[in-house]
């Protein structure tokens, strides 16, 4: 299953490294990354593949949310289908 990980935070060093290390720890492959700065805010969108991830979606979602909060990051994971449904005819 593919999913979108979104990260919002005040820009600082090492955000990508921190998030990708968490993903690697859970056997999640990153397929694509896009990042933008909205003023001083950092917004990162990642497309990830959950095929080898052993956690359930709910467990993964709360793991990422919790680890994000520990570093002051707003981290969410959502199934990719929702974005396809809303934006592609």
């Amino acid at each position: 299953m593919k999913a979108i990980v979104s990260v919002f935070a005040k820009d600082s060093k090492g955000i990508i490294a921190y998030i990708t290390a968490l993903l690697a720890e859970k056997e999640i492959n990153v397929l694509d990354i896009s990042q933008t700065l909205l003023q001083e805010y950092f917004a990162m969108i990642m497309l990830v593949d959950l095929t080898d991830c052993g956690l359930s979606f709910t467990e993964l979602s709360s793991f990422l949310g919790q680890k994000g909060r520990e570093r002051g990051l707003d981290v969410h994971i959502q199934r990719q289908d929702i974005f396809d449904a809303m934006h592609k005819v």
């Binding site: 979108i4 979104s6 397929l31 694509d32 990354i33 896009s34 933008t36 917004a43 969108i45 497309l47 979606f57 709910t58 979602s61 969410h76 994971i77 959502q78 199934r79 289908d81 929702i82 974005f83 449904a85 809303m86 934006h87």
Partner: protein, 451 residues
């Protein structure tokens, strides 16, 4: 394989959810109770309770799972059942409130936040069972928390059952004597639909399958946000913008509906293309009308603005879903919409303007608090007017009117949660007693010579 990420689209969706109150308003499971009839009231209640718990046992958990995985809030999980006047017809009991309490227990056991279908369809006349159900309403609504009731008193094909209109005025009045929350759970319809997922008027029609999943979407905040970007532009642009936004909202609802249907093993029914406000700031239908250029919702121009909004929501949504139904359109529940509350409080939004608005929007006079000393005949007359609009215009109309005991114009009442708060609105003086006392039926309208 390419992994194209369109970050601006993804960010747009995330902003819609996080900042513009985009949500799925309700996943409603319709359940047929036609196999729960029994001559013994206790046995009937037991069958109803068991069947609902069996069919909807996983509804709330499935809703929460979908919410989690897609990151879309699903505000309500609800159940609608076959109109109880049909199910209970063979029961040898004058009082149907034990069934309401069985429904209430089943709703609490399954964890849903409302159950609809304590209903009677009496548009052409009463069965004995319809009358027993209607007379049970004050007790049923005051002795339960989650049960919603509705009575259909008219239709375009049958006309208006004025005996039912007269009786419902008295029943609403009697219900209000036992506390205003009862009236917030009771809707009087004309042209009621069988697949409506929204409360308080949801019931599972006889033409529906054994069980079904219907979904109601929402998103006034998303439409308002999109319209802010086209200030000063023509109505062509406004209509197009609303259509595009409604399309996206509805696609999300369709995805959730299909997913819920698949996981629960229950057929998908319809997506209700709706703009349902909540009392939260930024989630208001009135605000959309004001962004179109009106100083206040309720002023002149409001009806035209609402007509455009209602039509564009349907046009945008209809292509986004495989099956569309329910009430589909913009809702104008006064107490549930921050902008309407403000307009009603300052007197710009009055009962007459609301009545005009119901000619062009999806339902009717909804969540309107009136003085506690309003008499039953006046309530019946309000229902008759609204039913006439529905009957003549071949649309659903409804009245959810709440006489608040001990309160008068200028005061307000707080219903709590999604039901919001409402100022007590003035109704017209002048008795309709003689009009309502006539009884009988208003004949169905002619379908040619339409002017």
């Amino acid at each position: 394989m390419s992994y194209l990420l369109n970050s601006s689209e993804i960010l747009q969706t995330i902003q819609m959810i996080n900042q513009q109150h985009l949500d799925v308003r309700t996943i409603t499971m319709g359940i047929s109770l036609l196999d729960c009839t029994d001559t013994d009231m206790d046995a009937c209640c037991r069958k109803i309770y068991d069947k609902i718990c069996r069919c909807a046992g996983n509804l709330v958990k499935t809703g929460c799972d979908i919410e989690n995985e897609f990151g879309i809030p699903i505000v309500n999980k609800r159940i609608s059942v076959t109109p109880i006047a049909l199910v209970a017809a063979s029961c040898a009991a004058a009082d149907y409130s034990p069934i309401a309490r069985a429904l209430d227990r089943a709703a609490k056991e399954t964890g849903v936040n409302f159950i609809g279908g304590f209903s009677a369809l009496a548009q052409k006349g009463f069965t004995d069972s319809d009358l027993r159900l209607i007379r049970s309403l004050p007790e049923a609504l005051s002795s339960t928390d989650l049960v919603c009731a509705s009575v259909n008193v008219g239709s375009t094909r049958a006309g208006i059952n004025m005996d039912a209109v007269a009786l419902m005025g008295k029943i609403i009045k009697e219900t209000s004597e036992r506390g205003y929350m009862g009236c917030a759970k009771l809707v009087v319809f004309a042209n009621a639909v069988e697949d409506n997922p929204f409360m308080a008027g949801a019931f599972h029609g006889v033409g529906e399958p054994e069980t079904v999943i219907n979904v109601g979407v929402s998103g006034p905040g998303v439409v308002a946000h999109a319209l802010r970007e086209c200030r000063g532009q023509s109505f062509d642009v406004v209509a197009e913008t609303i259509k595009r936004t409604a399309f996206k909202i509805t696609r999300m609802g369709e995805l959730v509906a299909q997913e819920a249907s698949r996981r629960l093993g229950v057929p998908f029914g319809v997506v209700d293309l709706s703009l349902a406000p909540t009392p939260a700031v930024g989630d208001s239908v009135a605000e959309i009308l004001e962004i179109m250029g009106l100083e206040r919702c309720g002023g002149h121009g409001t009806t035209a603005a609402l007509a455009l909004l209602n039509d564009a929501v349907k046009k945008g949504g209809v292509m986004a879903s495989s099956h569309v139904g329910g009430l589909s359109g913009a809702f104008i529940p006064v107490s549930e919409d921050a902008g309407m509350i403000a307009s009603a409080r300052e007197g710009t939004l009055c009962i007459d303007k609301l009545e005009a608005m119901t000619c062009v929007c999806s339902v009717g006079l909804d969540m309107i608090a009136v003085p506690g000393d309003t008499d039953a005949d006046t309530i019946s007359a309000v229902i008759a007017d609204e039913a006439a609009i529905g009957m003549v215009n071949s649309k659903t109309t409804a009245v959810r009117i709440i006489p608040v005991k001990g309160k008068s114009v200028g005061e307000s009442v707080d219903f709590g949660g999604l039901l919001g708060s409402a100022p007590i609105m003035p109704l017209h003086r002048g008795s309709a007693a003689e009009f309502i006392a006539r009884g009988g039926r208003i004949p169905a309208p002619l379908h040619s010579l339409r002017n």
